[in-house]
Structure formats: C-alpha cells, structure tokens
C-alpha cells in the first residue's frame, strides 16, 4: 500500500518559504535599519591583523637621475608618473640627521605601526618635493631622541624613491602640544617641520613639543597636474 505522497515533500517546502515570508514581513520594517548598520561592520574579505607594513622605498643614488619634465619656468620637475605616492602606513623613504645620530625609516602617516618602526609624516601635510610643509613626528625616547642635539645650520636628508632632499635647520623651539601656530601647513614652499615630545628624558605624558624647522636647500620638485585636470 502506498503511503505518503507529493504533499509530504511540497508542503514542508511551502511551510519553510511561508515562515521566512512571514518573519520578513513582520520584522523588515524594524530590522532593516539595524541590518543596514550591521552591514557596515562587515567587509568583503577576512580581517588581516598583520603588523607588517609595506615598504615602497627604493633608494635613488646621488649619481642616478629620475625622469623629469621641464616646467613653464624652465626648471626640471620629477615626472608625475614616476612618483609612487605612498598609502597610509607605507614606508616610502628614510631620514638622516648625522649631527643628531638619526637615521631611520620614514612612513606616510603617524600611526602606531609607523612610530614603532620609524618616524611618520603627519597625514595632513605633504611629501617632500610637493611644494608644501612636510611635518614629521617621532617618539622622543626612540627614533627622535637625537633631536635633543639639533641646532641651526645642521643638515637633514630625506631619501625617497623619486629623489633625495636636503634641508638645513633654521631654528628649534619648544611649544605647547595644542599650539596650532607652531607650524604652518598652508605654506606654499617646500619646508620641513620635525616634532617630538618634550622634555626628552622626562617620564610621563608631557604637554610640550620640541619643534625643528628646516628649509629645503636641494631637491627636485614634483610635477603637479594642471588646474582643471
């Protein structure tokens, strides 16, 4: 005798679809915004907690030249296409201050990984050669401890994959950490500002910063796109 039938397969499937339909109809109005917000918490790939950083720095020797173009004033500029702009967290150069015993990697951004492995450019400033203020931070008891010996006239060299830049220290100053007049990010000429916590060997989170101001003496400007491009 035959027992059962098609309904024993079809009806459970209909019930399953019906249950999800009922729950969707009942919960969608309240849950939809929550689901949208929750969706922001997920990415397309699995999380990566590696603390490795990307190093795009390839030194340019003094005798080597990078590809250049001539600007309207007849001066050479590094061709924009050869410049690999660093992303946040990349090492893209190194900084040397022989008189202070400083030689360390230079990163884009001043986050934890950058300052644990070298010194980092404040993300709101510019890379060397871009024609603006390059502001670099470092910890005073690690890579920037040597800044305590900084004085006017000393030389600073920044090496990148698109060129080498030499600066001369103009002056040093101690200012409050929250003093925004301590630096000028709107300057339209290449200049360098280094800063670290002050006093150098004091224990604790200090409210002062030690600033080093330097002017560019040698280094090729980067070609910028024309306005409207």
């Amino acid at each position: 005798m035959k027992v059962g039938g098609k309904s024993f397969v079809i009806l459970p499937i209909i019930f399953c679809i019906g249950i999800f339909a009922v729950l969707y109809a009942a919960l969608a109005p309240t849950m939809a915004p929550i689901v949208s917000i929750a969706g922001v918490m997920f990415s397309d790939k699995e999380a990566d907690y590696s603390t490795e950083y990307k190093n795009i720095f390839v030194p340019v020797s003094e005798s080597e030249t990078v590809e250049t173009v001539t600007n309207a004033e007849g001066e050479p500029e590094v061709k924009a296409e050869v410049v690999q702009y660093p992303n946040y967290g990349n090492q893209f150069g190194e900084i040397l201050i022989p008189d202070c015993g400083i030689e360390c990697p230079l990163f884009m951004g001043d986050g934890d990984i950058a300052l644990s492995n070298g010194v980092g450019i404040y993300y709101g400033s510019f890379v060397p050669g871009y024609g603006g203020t390059t502001m670099i931070a470092g910890h005073n008891n690690t890579f920037f401890n040597g800044l305590k010996f900084a004085a006017a006239g000393q030389e600073i060299t920044i090496r990148t994959s698109y060129g080498n830049y030499r600066y001369q220290i103009r002056e040093t100053a101690v200012k409050e950490a929250l003093d925004t007049t301590a630096y000028d990010l709107s300057a339209d000429y290449d200049n360098l500002v280094l800063y670290t916590c002050y006093p150098f060997d004091e224990i604790g989170l200090t409210s002062q910063r030690f600033f080093v101001y330097a002017d560019l003496v040698e280094g090729i400007t980067i070609e910028k796109p024309e306005e409207g491009e």
């Binding site: 019930f15 399953c16 999800f20 997920f42 300052l115 224990i203 604790g204 409210s207």
Partner: protein
C-alpha cells in the same frame, strides 16, 4: 461537490494552517532557545573567551598599546613585562561580564591595574632617579587606564545593553508562550482528528517545515563563513566572535538534525497508524 467533500476540504485547510503555525512557533522557539543558550548566556561567553585564547591575545594587545604609550612617555618596552597580568585580565573580564549580565554596572573596574601600574612606575622613577612632573605622570596613568579599560570593554556593549537586558528578561516568557501555543496546537490536532494518522501527518509537516528553515539558516551561515568578515579592531575579540559564530552554527546544525529526526519519527508514526487504520477498515 457534496457537503462532506467541502467539509473535508475546509478541515484540511484549517489543519494545514494550524500545522503551519505550529512550524512557525517551533522555529521561533528553537531560535529563541538557541539565543538564550548562547548569545544571552554569560557562561557561553566566558567559555568562548577561554576556547579562543582571548585572554592571552588581549594581554599581547594591551601590552603593545602600552609599549607605544611608553614610547611617548620615556618608558622602555621591558617596563610593561610585569605590569600586565593575564590572570588579572581574566578576573576583570569576569567581573565586567557578571555586572553586565546582572544589569547592574557596565563600567570596567580598573583599580587593580591602576594600582599595579602606579606602583611599578614609582619603583622605576626611584630606581632611575628620573625627571618627573606630577601632572605628566598623572596624565600617563590616566592614559594607561583608558588603554586598559578601552581594550577590555566590548564595543557597542553599552549601547546595546538596554536591548540586551530586555531580551534576557522577556525571552523566557516568549519561549514559554511559544511552547504553550505549540502545545495547544498539538492537542487540537490530536483531539480534532478521529484518525490518529492524520494528526501525525500534520505534526510531520510542521517538524519538516521547521527542519527545512533551520537547514536553510545552517547552510547560509556555513556557506557565508559565519562572522569571519566582521571588522573589529581587536584580534582577540575577532577570534572570540568567529569562534562564537562557529559554535552557534554547529548548534543550528544539531537543531536541524533534531527536527529531521522528529519529522522522520512523525512520518513513521503516521505510516504505522495509517496502515493500522487502513487494515481495520478493510
């Protein structure tokens, strides 16, 4: 069509609808019971923390952040080796979770950590005869405390606490209510059907429907990888959440299997009673 056939049709539709609602209530019951055993259960959280190596990972994260703070404060990295204690982390997490699940306080108590840090700092300053400014040291201790508590507190816990407490308080009543409704439908189906096999047929539809819903959820969670793509700053928390998600997926598969077995049992009982009824009418 005679009245007997129309009446049979109406009865079939009515019992079919009752069976559908039984499936719905059983599904909701299963999901609510799963939630109360996992996400809303403190012991489940503590177990997942142990299984996923949460405490040792947290120790490393907190130490790393404090070393970075130390770099900005004149402290060497080896200073923090004796400051962070995984046993203390476990105790603080237990207290935090206890007070969260009790609905009492959701602020992490960092007093033991602060005392240990302050004592180690005072010892270091004395040994090195280091330069200090009272205000800078206070800022340092305050920042260290914020790093410690910020790393142990679970994100969004505070924001979700009222919903969490509401769910914990009302869920037993929801489960009880759904179970009661399911029981009523089971009784109605049993008593309204003179022939027992018909009742088991509707029980089979309900169990199979619930089983299919749970199967769909299990397959979706397994295929999508669970919570592996969640974005969390803390690796320790990420590992714990992924482990939690995996265990919930396993429980869903178990529930699917339970309802599959129930459905098969109901089908077997339906068949047995049907053949008995068919034999007695011959």
């Amino acid at each position: 069509m005679n009245t007997k056939t129309i009446g049979k049709r109406i009865r079939d539709i009515l019992f079919g609808v009752l069976s559908f609602f039984l499936a719905l209530f059983l599904f909701l019951d299963a999901v609510c019971a799963l939630a109360s055993m996992t996400v809303l259960n403190e012991e489940s959280w503590m177990e997942q923390m142990t299984v996923s190596g949460y405490y040792s990972e947290k120790e490393q994260e907190i130490t790393k952040k404090l070393v970075q703070l130390g770099n900005a404060s004149g402290l060497p990295s080896d200073f923090f080796e004796d400051v962070i204690d995984p046993v203390q982390i476990q105790k603080d997490m237990q207290n935090y979770m206890d007070s969260y699940f009790d609905g009492t306080s959701r602020i992490l108590d960092t007093t033991p950590f602060q005392q240990k840090f302050r004592a180690a700092l005072d010892r270091f300053i004395e040994e090195k005869n280091a330069k200090v400014d009272g205000k800078s040291v206070d800022n340092l201790v305050k920042q260290a405390k914020q790093i410690y508590s910020g790393n142990l507190e679970i994100p969004l816990f505070i924001k979700l606490s009222s919903y969490f407490q509401m769910a914990r308080n009302y869920l037993p009543y929801v489960i009880g209510g759904l179970s009661l409704l399911s029981g009523v439908i089971i009784l109605v189906l049993l008593l309204a059907n003179k022939w027992r096999h018909r009742a088991f047929k509707y029980y089979y539809y309900a169990c199979a429907g619930t089983g299919l819903c749970l199967l769909a959820l299990s397959v979706y969670l397994t295929a999508s990888g669970g919570l592996k793509k969640i974005v969390l700053e803390s690796k320790a928390l990420y590992q714990m959440v992924v482990s939690f998600g995996s265990s919930v997926t396993v429980y869903l598969w178990v529930l699917t299997a339970v309802f599959a077995v129930l459905a098969l049992s109901m089908f077997f009982l339906y068949r047995t009673f049907y053949l008995k009824a068919a034999g007695s009418t011959d």
